[in-house]
Symmetry: C2
Subunit: 182 residues, 2 copies
């Protein structure tokens, strides 16, 4: 069943987000299967990594959908987005570390679409007056996704409690490091 492939892909995300150069051997062990079976499921390493990337993109896009980032108050939309996407921080860390994947035009387009949707949210917020206009929406989007990847790394290395990820991302990104009431 397809669950097999997906569970292998999820295990691979975990390994590859930490070690982008991990060998098929390590990925197979992390997935609890043998190297032979891994090759039976996927034609080769490239195909595996590209499928991992595809799944990661779909899961991130699904988080954008679930958060309905195109609707309602932009600030609330960002909060919903953070809630929905922090559980996908590992995927973001993987994609950030596997930047050479973006030679593939299909994957590049998928990433571009995610980035564009997030940027559109920030642009909408700038037009509504909620977000600062000094910072380009494209940079806000990139910074948000970079911080998301940072959350993924920090959680994996145990430097950040998983439950703390959402507030760490939301509070820093929206409010910054400065106290506002002084």
């Amino acid at each position: 069943m397809a669950t097999d492939r997906d569970s292998v892909l999820l295990a691979a995300v975990g390994v590859l987000s930490r070690q982008p150069t991990a060998a098929m051997d390590e990925i197979a062990r992390a997935a609890g299967i043998s190297r032979a079976t891994l090759h039976r499921l996927f034609p080769g390493r490239d195909a595996l990594v590209r499928e991992v990337a595809g799944l990661a993109m779909r899961r991130m896009a699904a988080a954008l959908d679930a958060a309905a980032i195109e609707d309602g108050d932009p600030v609330e939309a960002v909060r919903r987005l953070a809630d929905a996407i922090v559980p996908r921080a590992t995927e973001a860390a993987f994609l950030t570390g596997e930047s050479r994947l973006f030679d593939d035009s299909e994957l590049w387009a998928a990433w571009e679409q995610i980035d564009a949707r997030v940027a559109a949210l920030f642009l909408r917020g700038q037009q509504s007056g909620a977000f600062r206009v000094e910072l380009p929406a494209a940079w806000l989007s990139e910074a948000f996704l970079d911080l998301l990847a940072g959350v993924g790394w920090a959680v994996q290395e145990g430097r950040l409690a998983p439950r703390a990820g959402t507030s760490a991302l939301t509070e820093l990104f929206l409010g910054g490091a400065l106290r506002r009431d002084q």
Copy 2:
């Protein structure tokens, strides 16, 4: 003279920050020397990468020194830090992408010291009431360095103008995405 080694190391930072798996061949070409000379200068790939990391750490630490982050008003210290360290964003991007280097205890300690100094700055700012206390100083430090790496990537890919890096980092990190005056 030592300048040779350093100029090669700087060229290597540029390549490896984009392509952490770049071959000796590509690094040599980027440095304008042959693969043979590259091997004459450095015992091997591991040694080269570790020296690149060492130089990157020293340059980042020098930026902390130059900004005198241990002195004066914490907010001003962060602004000085951003000014001084954005020119080292490529190094930060390299170190972020080469996380497996941190198995080496010496490099790990050097990174830990940089991280600790930045975290101490934020802790100092929290104690003085300038920075928000809801966000752990360790996370502020990590997020700051993640955003710095993000600036490095964005500049290299041409998505962010080099001169815009400092304000992009400072404004987002200190003030967040929200407008403060409404």
